[in-house]
């Protein structure tokens, strides 16, 4: 693992990035609520889109990084890769929680129901529960090598599921709207809405990197403390 000084520096830098991300998110809130026009058919509830979609983006990005780091861990067996994958998974679960709570609030206003078991929603819930299981498993397995190996397998399974979640709106009949930005013909949003959405995506991306850096640093600090307690330092 990394040294205690390096871990402390990473945790501190990560917190600075988190503060920047939170400031960005606050600015996005102001822009979304005050300066972005209300959609005529859906009303103000459409603005949930500016939180829900970037949270989904950050969550899926987190799970992709977890999967890639897991593959690298299985190849190189470096504990730093396992720690980084775990940090990314935890942050992914945080953003998934935002995604999975704000989505139904929008759904209630537009679909008339909080939840429906269609393909996109069901597979997103499955992905979320898979990574909740990932974190629970890490808390339950004591042996480090076994925990890292099991986690890496979970991470790779999650990575396989991510593109499937994205493509469910094309492959199945679903209530969930199709992409309005990430599609072959380009974005179909008015400029004012697109700028708000992209600003929010940027804020969530900054938050993701800030959270992961901080969490990774904290894992390093905890690891250093354990080494000292057991006289391995």
């Amino acid at each position: 693992m990394i040294t205690r000084e390096r871990a402390r520096a990473l945790a501190n830098r990560g917190l600075v990035v988190v503060v920047l991300g939170l400031a960005g998110l606050a600015a996005v809130y102001v822009r979304a609520v005050v300066y972005t026009p209300v959609e005529r058919v859906q009303g103000p509830a459409q603005k949930i889109f500016y939180v829900h979609v970037p949270a989904a983006w950050a969550a899926l990005m987190a799970f992709v990084f977890t999967g890639l780091l897991s593959i690298l861990y299985l190849w190189l067996r470096d504990r730093r890769l396992d720690a980084a994958a775990a940090a990314s998974a935890e942050v992914g679960v945080v953003f998934s929680t935002v995604m999975i709570t704000t989505g139904p609030i929008w759904g209630k206003t537009v679909w008339g129901t909080w939840w429906t078991w269609d393909a996109r929603l069901t597979f997103t819930l499955l992905l979320f529960l898979m990574f909740v299981g990932y974190l629970m498993m890490r808390g339950a397995v004591v042996d480090h090598d076994m925990r890292a190996r099991f986690s890496a397998v979970f991470g790779v399974m999650g990575l396989v599921l991510v593109p499937f979640v994205h493509l469910t709106v094309y492959w199945f009949r679903t209530l969930h709207p199709q992409p309005v930005v990430l599609k072959p013909t380009g974005p179909t949003l008015p400029a004012s809405m697109l700028i708000t959405l992209l600003s929010s995506v940027a804020a969530f991306t900054v938050l993701y990197f800030g959270f992961v850096t901080t969490r990774y640093g904290l894992m390093g600090l905890e690891d250093a403390r354990q080494r000292e307690l057991h006289g391995d330092a």
Partner: protein, 45 residues
């Protein structure tokens, strides 16, 4: 007098937007606070 064209009544559902924004803020700021407090735990070691 006959109405012409379409007329859309924009729904008044701003409370749903507020609820979603508050929940998102609580989750994100809450996690940031947990990380901050965790980092303080190692400050003097």
């Amino acid at each position: 007098m006959r109405a012409s064209g379409s007329c859309t009544v924009t729904p008044d559902n701003g409370s749903f937007m507020v609820a979603a924004y508050v929940i998102a803020a609580v989750i994100v700021v809450g996690y940031a606070t947990i990380l901050f407090l965790s980092s303080r735990k190692y400050r003097d070691r």
